[in-house]
Amino acid sequence: MTLAVFFGCAFIAFGPAFALFVFTVAKDPLRVIILIAGAFFWLLSLLLSSLVWFIAIKASNSQDLTLQRGLLIFGVFFSVLLQEVFRFAYYRLLRKATEGLAAISDDDGSAISVRQMAYVAGLGFGIMSGAFSMINILSDSLGPGTVGIFGDSQYYFIITALMTLALTLLHTFWGVLFFEGCEKSRWWVIAAVVSLHLLVAGLSLLNPLYEGSLPPVYGITLLMGVWAFFSSGGSLHSLNALCTRRKAEGESS
């Protein structure tokens, strides 16, 4: 507990997202706006899914624990589906905005490409999702306490931080893939993204059996990262060029 755990978990969960924000988003005002609007859309989806879950809870017997757990699982899957619906809605909104932006820009094209918007929108979703999952837990970790005093796992905080990191990155990759799929009208890509999101949420249902949830989720994250990289135009050649250019620069300097 206290500061060590707080800073450790905070940096694990938000370090990469913060770095991505600072290096790729912060300098461009348009990207910042798209990021915050993405966060807003995720928030809307969460709001609606919580409303549905809340109604279901109130309409049911609060003493029946298995029913409550079942309703929670239903809430999880419904929320995932709603998030993807709102991602699609955000895609439509951004497409409309791109046309407007292209018309008023003085460059040849729009000030921002759809791929960049996809990345920033995904990052917005991821940051908001991570913030909602993690910040309350972080603020609790500042105070005194013993983790797992009633027999629960001792690794609660670190596992939460790792899962939050995975989800943030996943949302970013899914954003890229989803928009790409919508652009090229490849519906199987969209279906894959949705089903993988459902799979990840389902894997998290295995908690506290962390061996069953964390490694597969990270495997999926890696897979998504590679897929998003190739989908957005990267290639082994460009990676190679990056490395050799760096080596060449290192030699010449």
Binding site: I33, L43, V80, I137, L167
Partner: protein, 478 residues
């Protein structure tokens, strides 16, 4: 209190950018089309149309930049308020004291009585704000028209030349004195209390002498920056600090239900006051635009101060176009050239006397740079398109921060609610600025943001919080 006068101008305006834009996109014309007044040299119609398209392009292009220019100070203000609420317990303690504007107490027996009391409180508060706004607008509008610009203190000389205005002069001085006094109160007294509470929280010992030196310096520099001239960033920082202090005062002294009702009521009031044809704030903004003046710079956060300074400067010397003013027209992009017949009270004799007493009033690049401490690598701001800024009233800052502060103070969902309200307010501000770019006139900044903020506060606190808590307990991830 400062908030009432500040609320009088809690709207977003781009009046300056509008006038600025006209001048900058048509360098060939040296006249500016003032609102409601046709320029003396009527341009050919073709030029006006293409000029309007150009204007729209430029506006939208810089729209994103303006949004960020407002996001940053609003975020900073909220961060200060939330950080204070979370760490200093003084501002969340209810010690039974209430403001005189909310006399009814909320610790009643029945819920109905409580609701009634809070509605009465909100009603009284909005009534007070309305009355003060009306007084301000009436005084501002119906003063003697021959007198211009109330931004600098030596305007007083001019006023005495017109006998009919000596009476009005007293009222204008009253407004200025009232603003001055309320800022004084905020900068010295409230920040002293704030500092004292922070020291108590962190158990820092400090002697009175050091404290006096710190508060004295803080306050005096603040008064100078806000009411006179100072570096832009410092002025912005002070405006953010006084908004945060005011929001903290509201959070402490307004009872629960009253605070929420006031937030809802004031956004409705703002909407009506700015958009209705006879709304006081609309009259105020239009009058200021007609006279091409600034509205009480101590009440508005501006992302650029350059043109404000030029405006104040040129108002004294440029109004009489028949007088051979040595002011470079091309330097001062905001030069409002009045009709030749109306010398605005600046008889040549008087202007000569001023020139003699105060020296030539030229806004040269060097003097501007000196005063505003601009980095020397930057080109002269008046010629730079990107220096057109956007303005937001301090009342908006106060109410946004008050909403987020209350969310962090009283919500049991804690940080989730705070983050949700924060994002909601920013998105509301973004939408308001988008509307501003489309409609190009002063708009109320409160309604959209406060509505989103309130909706998200209550929804997150009651719906999302139990859901997220359950998910966190089981470590399910969505």
């Amino acid at each position: 209190m400062a908030d009432h006068v500040e609320n009088a101008v809690n709207n977003v305006s781009n009046d300056g950018t509008e006038v600025n834009r006209h001048t900058e996109t048509t360098p060939s014309r040296n006249e500016v089309e003032l609102n409601g007044q046709p320029p003396t040299a009527r341009p050919p119609q073709v030029l006006t149309d293409s000029e309007e398209d150009e204007d729209e392009e430029l506006t939208l292009k810089y729209g994103a930049k303006h949004v960020i220019m407002l996001f940053v100070p609003v975020t900073l203000c909220m961060v200060v308020v939330v950080a204070t609420i979370k760490s200093v317990s003084f501002y969340t303690q209810k010690d039974g004291q209430q403001l005189i504007y909310t006399p009814f107490r909320e610790d009643t027996e029945t819920v109905g009585q409580r609701a009634l009391n809070s509605m009465l409180n909100a009603f009284i508060m909005i009534g007070v704000i309305l009355v003060m706004t009306l007084v301000l607008v009436v005084l501002y509008k119906y003063r003697c028209y021959k007198v211009c610009s109330l931004c600098s203190l030596y305007d007083a000389h001019r006023l005495f030349f017109h006998p009919g205005c000596r009476f009005m002069f007293c009222f204008l001085q009253v407004i200025q004195a009232w603003l001055f006094f309320s800022n004084l109160l905020l900068l010295f007294f409230f920040s002293l209390i704030y500092l004292g509470e922070v020291f108590k929280t962190y158990n820092v010992a400090m002697d009175y002498f050091t404290l006096a030196v710190i508060i004295w310096n803080f306050g005096v520099v603040g008064m100078i920056c806000i009411h006179w001239k100072g570096p832009l960033r410092l002025q912005q920082a002070y405006l953010i600090m006084i908004s945060a202090l005011m929001a903290l005062v509201f959070i402490k002294y307004l009872p629960e239900w009253t605070a929420w009702l006031i937030l809802a009521a004031i956004s409705v009031y703002d909407l009506l006051a700015v958009l209705c044809p006879k709304g006081p704030l609309r009259i105020l903004v239009e009058t200021a635009q007609e006279r091409n003046e600034t509205i009480f710079p101590a009440l508005i956060y501006s992302s650029t101060v350059v043109w404000l300074f030029n405006m104040a400067d040129s108002a004294e010397t440029g109004n009489n176009s028949s007088h051979p003013v040595p002011q470079q027209e091309n330097q001062v992009a905001m030069a409002p050239t009045a009709q030749p017949e109306d010398d605005g009270g600046f008889t040549p004799a008087w202007v000569n006397q001023q020139q003699h007493q105060l020296g030539p009033m030229q806004s040269s690049e060097d003097s501007r740079r000196e005063i505003q401490e601009l980095p020397s690598a930057r080109p002269p701001p008046v010629e730079d398109d990107e220096e057109r800024g956007v303005k937001l009233g301090l009342g908006d800052f106060i109410f946004y921060s008050m909403l987020v502060g209350k969310a962090s103070a009283t919500a049991s969902g804690d940080w989730n609610t705070t983050i949700a309200c924060f994002v909601a307010i920013l998105i509301g501000l973004c939408l308001t600025l988008l509307l501003l770019a489309i409609f190009k006139k002063a708009l109320p900044a409160l309604p959209i943001s406060i509505t989103f903020g309130l909706v998200f506060y209550f929804a997150t606190d009651n719906l999302v919080r139990p859901f997220m808590d359950q998910l966190a307990v089981h470590q399910f991830y969505i």
